[in-house]
């Protein structure tokens, strides 16, 4: 591997470099995936455009609507005070990515753009109905994450575009999220299957809406359920328990399978 290294100081500069070098360039966020891809000779960029000097890409804005800069790390997601409640699935998804060493560096934006079907945070963002902002030479455009992801390693991102941020609505008052994953080991595992759930209740403790997304079971994370459901308050309270369960050691197959099959 050999390449030239660029350190743009702004989004505009970064995008200009990408436009100039086209498919020969790769953006470097955390690098935890790109460097592996380069070593395995799956990609061979001639130019690596590091984003670490671009200001503002690593912030979490949780006043009202939530906005994540593309360079927000998994570590930052895990520790964000705003995600310890109704958005806890973000924490649960982030904390099972690699070891601490990876999570301290790897970014949400990198994870999305990498488009692994098994990316753990992606199903969470899908159930949160997230949208991504991509900036190119002709300005910014926004699209739903669901439309952005196309297949393994494939997204709607153009070669001269940079994914700069992810946003999703603030959680409704009576809503919760959950995330679980399964794999052969309890850590350092690429998901065999992972699942994220978003659920909201109405004033009578009835389920007002549910969204479920599955990772690692198709060419990209799938939104398998997205509709209001009818249920009794009793069922709902059980679901809430499940959604708030904090998996010890990262995950449990049992709960992920139940979530998928809609049992209990």
């Amino acid at each position: 591997m050999s390449f030239d290294f660029h350190e743009p100081a702004s989004i505009a500069e970064a995008v200009a470099l990408a436009a100039r070098f086209g498919t020969e360039a790769r953006f470097l966020a955390g690098g935890t995936d790109l460097l592996v891809q380069i070593r395995r000779k799956r990609v061979a960029p001639r130019h690596v455009v590091s984003l670490h000097r671009v200001p503002g890409l690593d912030t979490i804005d949780a006043n009202g609507e939530i906005r994540l800069g593309a360079l927000v790390t998994h570590r930052a997601l895990e520790r964000a005070p705003a995600f310890q409640g109704a958005l806890r699935a973000l924490v649960e998804g982030a904390r099972v990515v690699g070891g601490h060493q990876i999570r301290n560096v790897g970014t949400v934006g990198g994870n999305i753009v990498n488009a692994s079907p098994a990316a753990d945070v992606v199903p969470v963002l899908l159930v949160l109905d997230a949208a991504v902002t991509c900036v190119g030479p002709n300005g910014a455009r926004e699209m739903k994450l669901d439309e952005f992801l196309l297949g393994p390693g494939e997204t709607a991102l153009r070669p001269d575009e940079l994914l700069t941020s992810i946003r999703f609505p603030a959680p409704a008052l009576r809503s919760a999220t959950g995330f679980l994953k399964a794999g052969r080991r309890r850590a350092m595992e690429i998901s065999v299957v992972c699942v994220a759930v978003w659920l909201s209740l109405d004033g009578d403790d009835r389920c007002a809406g549910v969204r479920i997304s599955l990772g690692a079971v198709g060419p990209r994370a799938l939104r398998s359920c997205d509709r209001p459901v009818e249920s009794s308050p009793r069922t709902v309270s059980r679901s809430r328990t499940s959604a708030h369960r904090q998996p010890t050691g990262g995950f449990s197959w049992k709960h992920s399978f139940r979530a998928r099959s809609g049992q209990r």
Partner: protein
Amino acid sequence: MSRIALALTINGQRHDVLTEAHRTLLDVLRADLGLTGTKENCLEGECGVCTVLLDGMAVDSCLLLAAQCQGREIVTIEGVSSRGGDDVLARAFIDCGAVQCGYCIPGMIISATAFLDEHPSPSEAEVREALAGNLCRCTGYQKIVDAVLAAGRTSGTETRGDAR
């Protein structure tokens, strides 16, 4: 392929390095600076033997370009003891019999250092979670976990509580 000049702060000292852009922090530490306490194995962030501190966080130096590290504080196993009173961990690893072949140990100690900085008196489950990115094939982890728990107790009551 051009070389770039980097000023890296490693273990509190500035090192000026002229290197190719593709070279990782691990490459520079081991080959250019002779800091071989940081080990090399899988080169994909799966084994943790190359773990160093970057601004106080444990990171895999095999997945970090040296060029990304300018202006940041790097601490390797060689520098851990220079942080003052920190051979508590090294001592605990020896006392608990946690060292066998020893090749994973520098990475373990670095991960544990970052972890104890944030969790001065952890539970066993927390320690295990914190070390999940560091593979060891000799020990079954038991005495390593014990060593980190012991270091947590020691430093939590003596030095660490005030120092950080």
